[in-house]
Symmetry: C2
Subunit: 282 residues, 2 copies
């Protein structure tokens, strides 16, 4: 397997994404929102929009730019993700995203493509940016640069987390989450999952990310989406639908939280995760 | 509270409903479909369409015709439902429904409106019909006819059911189900539910109906949607999201099944339910 190294620098035309409140609610349920988070699930309450929804309107642009890599979907794994929020996401509208492959790096076993996606609203005002890294298994060893080292964000040694949230995902979690746009059959079909080397379909990394983002929002932002500035994480391990996710947060500095998510058996699935928070000032 | 008796005979213009496979899957998840029912949840398997999806494309027409009743949404409860399938429902398309209020009856405490909705495809071929009865609490006592007696379908005395299926709904079941079209806030908002006289939001009767329909499909039709001819039920009691639904079926004649659904504490919630099945011949 190889990927097209000349994809670096390729930029999409602005890709539009129109959405309505139902899409916002569908996403929230897809990342496990509970009935007591009604403001995020009920149109007469807005709905409020989970900040990690940022990955949805930009997904088409990500897909379009990663097609330029020429990689098999079954071999692609999301490596890292950072969403930078410029302001709360509106509950409906038409957003426009330009994505660009900023670099392709050689990690030995695989290759990593770094994609930046910038999303603006109808008035061309920035709403959020996303940084995605796409890991292509089996595509490394082409003698390229290893690229920048990933973000390091370890919990302070010996300190108990400032918050801990445990939530079971359902066996149908990936089947629900994928309705928000990432239709990779790796997350639905046992046959396709086997082709990708997994015993059964796996949960989307971004679904785990959304679960962790809800925990950050609740415990580090008082439930107010306007207070989350950014959320970055590395996808450190595979989650199967039905597993329980435990997200822990350590406040390491004012407005800075180190986050980790583990499964019920202690496997680290989100690592080197960092959330930046602030006051509601926008 | 009163309703407009002159609504009888009112017919909608053909009301179109365009849908895609995602709507079919969203509905299936809304009525509790599980990961092992993948054919109903995965586009590369069709998806197959649950026969009770019939209530979704016709819902706009039902809403339109019941608006003519002039009743408060908080006081409306679905009384009975019958879906008659002429053939399997396509996984996407544009269907067209004409609904008519066939009668308004005086039940003392409330009034009952009987609505017929006939749905055809792009070629004007019948796909399914629905009979809905809408119970309007507090709107009876106007001296009208009591109307036809409801269908009687009791399980044979002393006979154990031929199948029993127990499934827990989730606390978010109504919030997910409502994305398929019935946005009555009675199923989402605690305040609105209180106004309707309930302690908390209740599950849509048609969500329970969909759960029961899945059990019928699996155990009386070998999982083949083409084998279900009709499914009628009375909504006998309130279900709260999170409760467990147990559906039982008795084969009373060739192709005839009496169905009941109870909650975990034995309350009957679907009664006088009858499913008609046949061979796959269409």
């Amino acid at each position: 397997m190889s990927i097209k190294l000349d994809a670096v620098g390729k930029k999409t035309a602005p890709i539009k994404h129109k959405y309505a409140w139902k899409d916002v609610v569908l996403y929230a349920l897809g990342v496990g929102a509970k009935a007591d988070e009604l403001d995020f699930l009920f149109e007469l309450a807005g709905p409020k929009v989970l900040p990690t929804f940022a990955v949805v309107p930009s997904f088409g642009a990500l897909l379009s730019v990663t097609e330029a890599l020429g990689a098999d979907l079954a071999m692609i794994v999301h490596g890292e993700q950072k969403a930078i929020l410029h302001r709360p996401i509106p509950p409906s509208g038409e957003l426009s995203t330009v994505a660009e492959i900023k670099g392709i790096y050689d990690k030995g076993k695989g290759a990593v493509a770094l994609v930046e996606a910038k999303t603006v609203d109808e008035k061309n005002e920035p709403v959020f940016d996303n940084w995605f890294t796409v890991f292509v298994r089996g595509a490394g060893g082409f003698g390229g640069d290893r690229g920048p080292e990933p973000i390091k964000a370890d919990p302070p040694e010996g300190k108990a987390p400032d918050f801990t949230v445990s939530e079971a995902t359902t066996p149908e979690q990936a089947l629900l989450y994928r309705l928000s746009g990432d239709l990779n059959p790796l997350h639905a079909s046992p046959e396709f999952a086997k082709r990708g080397g997994f015993d059964r379909p796996i949960l989307h990394g971004l679904c785990t990310y959304g679960h962790a983002g809800r925990a950050v929002l609740k415990h580090a932002c008082g439930g107010d989406p306007a207070r989350l500035r950014s959320f970055a994480a590395r996808f450190a391990g595979v989650v199967f639908p039905g597993e329980t996710l435990t997200t822990m947060g350590w406040k390491v500095d004012p407005g800075k939280w180190v986050i980790q998510t583990k499964t019920q058996d202690g496997r680290l699935v989100l690592s080197n995760a960092l959330a930046e928070t602030g006051e509601t000032l926008r």
